[in-house]
């Protein structure tokens, strides 16, 4: 497909994308994992990426984070090449159990990001309390991650990411390991957090409903090597609502389209 980044640039009056992939290729172990991927993400956009397992979603996100360097093409952030990870880009990992420091309490884990940003120890406690309240963990400041449920640990990881005051939030199947009720609650919380902070989001999921429910746009990847197979604009009103949005005719139409795409990739 044509370079989405270039196409966006070409439209007069369209702002330059915050994150852009320009014909990005990544080879790992002699194998192309991502090939010729072009993509632009506007500031403040909520982009969802779906695709079968192993099609390169995580790899694409790691490229956006600067954790991988492309072997071909360019990844830009605010018009500058991404050479290494930066605090403005926060990542919520799927395996929250591994991404938290087990020897630090909830407050200590949030503090890690504030310390890295150079906040003084006098300013930290108030900010930590505020962040824990934002993600729905007030009163859990003194708990160790191992004393918290999966949903609480993922909230904690989100709190640490918010402490980075990110321009971009990258989320890799953040709710994949959680039960349905917890997941729906967290979806709505992420939407309101993002609406409040204005952050750009790239959200990877294998749950098609989740992708449509959350996103402004959904991209479906094709596997071997990973490349864009479908791109859908989600024109559903915001704020989204777990019941009415999911019953919206547009939601059902997009859902059908995405299901057909995924089914075709699996054959």
């Amino acid at each position: 497909m044509a370079s989405a980044a270039k196409r966006l640039d070409a439209v007069p009056g369209t702002p330059a994308p915050q994150i852009s992939f320009d014909a990005v290729t990544l080879q790992l172990g002699g194998k192309a994992i991502i090939e010729n991927l072009s993509l632009g993400v506007r500031a403040g956009e909520f982009l969802c990426i779906v695709g079968a397992s192993g099609c390169g979603k995580t790899t694409a996100l790691r490229l956006a984070a600067g954790l991988y360097q492309p072997t071909g093409g360019k990844v830009n952030f605010d018009g500058q090449p991404m050479r290494e990870p930066r605090r403005e880009i926060a990542i919520v990992f799927q395996d929250y159990g591994k991404a938290l420091l087990p020897w630090r309490t909830a407050a200590g884990n949030v503090s890690l990001a504030l310390e890295a940003a150079g906040m003084t120890s006098a300013e930290r406690p108030a900010r930590i309390e505020e962040l824990l309240r934002t993600v729905g963990l007030p009163g859990h400041a003194g708990k160790y991650p191992s004393e918290m449920s999966g949903g609480m640990q993922q909230r904690l990881q989100i709190a640490r990411c918010l402490a980075q005051e990110p321009k971009t939030l990258l989320m890799d199947e953040p709710f994949g390991a959680l039960d349905a009720m917890t997941r729906q609650g967290l979806q709505d919380e992420v939407l309101s957090l993002v609406a409040a902070s204005g952050a750009t989001v790239i959200f990877v999921t294998h749950d098609l409903d989740e992708a449509i429910y959350l996103g402004d746009r959904v991209i479906g990847l094709l596997p071997h090597p990973g490349r864009i197979g479908i791109e859908l604009a989600v024109n559903l009103p915001r704020p989204r609502d777990q019941l009415s949005t999911r019953e919206h005719p547009e939601f059902l139409r997009l859902r059908r389209q995405l299901f057909d795409f995924i089914k075709a990739t699996e054959q």
Binding site: R86, A99, Q164
Partner: protein, 255 residues
């Protein structure tokens, strides 16, 4: 404490009491000449005498000092060197195997070298004790650093943490259970080598006391010294366990 733990404690006290009783019996029956084997009563009397005269205090202080300095030096150097080797994959690949080769080298082999270079001095003792005690700490640190969850390094990268901050805030705490276990092992090594060095170099300490007592056939004093060494080993090891328990409270929360 649960029932099982109490039973264990009672059982171990019973075994110790039985042992002392047997010892007294053997001594009373003179199965072994009293010149070589004093009864627990005579050993205890010698302990009391040694402490009230102050002799044993100064010997104990000497041994504790040798042990503490050697162990602390070994800990600082072992953690520092272990951290450098453990935090670099290249170093782990190229340096770690030669450490595995050096480790089984008995420390006794290094003692003549140390004596030749440093003489029968405190410096020689410090060198030998820390050389022996460094291995468990250094190898545990290397292992602990190598086993840090890679995801945490990615978190550190995305937070743009400095190399020093990554070591202090991520690698060291993550490796701390290994490091503390290594330090506990080294404590025993340091005590043993303190005694050896005191005996060889005639440095003030329980090792020297034990040696002089043996030469003078003062078996009660000899046993008093040996008992005191055992108690020293036990008490320092228990203190270390308590410190570990406190420092690793976060691990207890995981179960």
């Amino acid at each position: 404490m649960n029932r099982g733990a109490i039973l264990w404690r009672v059982a171990s006290f019973a075994v110790a009491a039985g042992f002392i009783g047997l010892w007294q019996l053997i001594a009373n029956l003179k199965l072994v000449s009293p010149v070589f084997l004093p009864g627990p009563d005579r050993a205890w009397a010698s302990l009391v005498r040694g402490f009230s005269s102050g002799d044993l205090w100064s010997k104990l202080a000497g041994t504790l000092e040798h042990m503490a300095y050697g162990w602390l030096l070994a800990s600082i150097a072992g953690i520092a060197i272990g951290a450098i080797i453990g935090s670099s994959r290249t170093m782990r690949t190229y340096v770690a195997p030669s450490l595995e080769f050096l480790r089984p080298l008995p420390v006794s082999a290094i003692i003549p070298v140390a004596i030749a270079m440093l003489g029968l001095t405190q410096a020689m003792a410090l060198f030998v004790i820390s050389f022996g005690a460094i291995w468990p700490i250094m190898l545990a640190t290397i292992h602990g650093f190598a086993a840090v969850e890679p995801r945490l390094y990615e978190v550190a990268r995305s937070l743009q943490m400095s190399r020093l901050a990554v070591i202090l805030k991520i690698a060291l705490p993550s490796a701390s259970p290994d490091i503390l276990a290594g330090m506990r092992l080294s404590l025993t090594v340091a005590l043993i080598l303190s005694v050896v060095c005191e005996i060889l170099a005639g440095l003030d300490g329980l090792g020297h006391w034990v040696l002089l007592s043996a030469r003078a056939f003062r078996s009660a004093d000899l046993f008093a010294g040996v008992i005191l060494l055992g108690v020293t080993g036990y008490v320092t090891s228990v203190a270390m366990s308590l410190a570990e328990h406190k420092l690793l409270a976060w691990q207890a929360a995981q179960h």
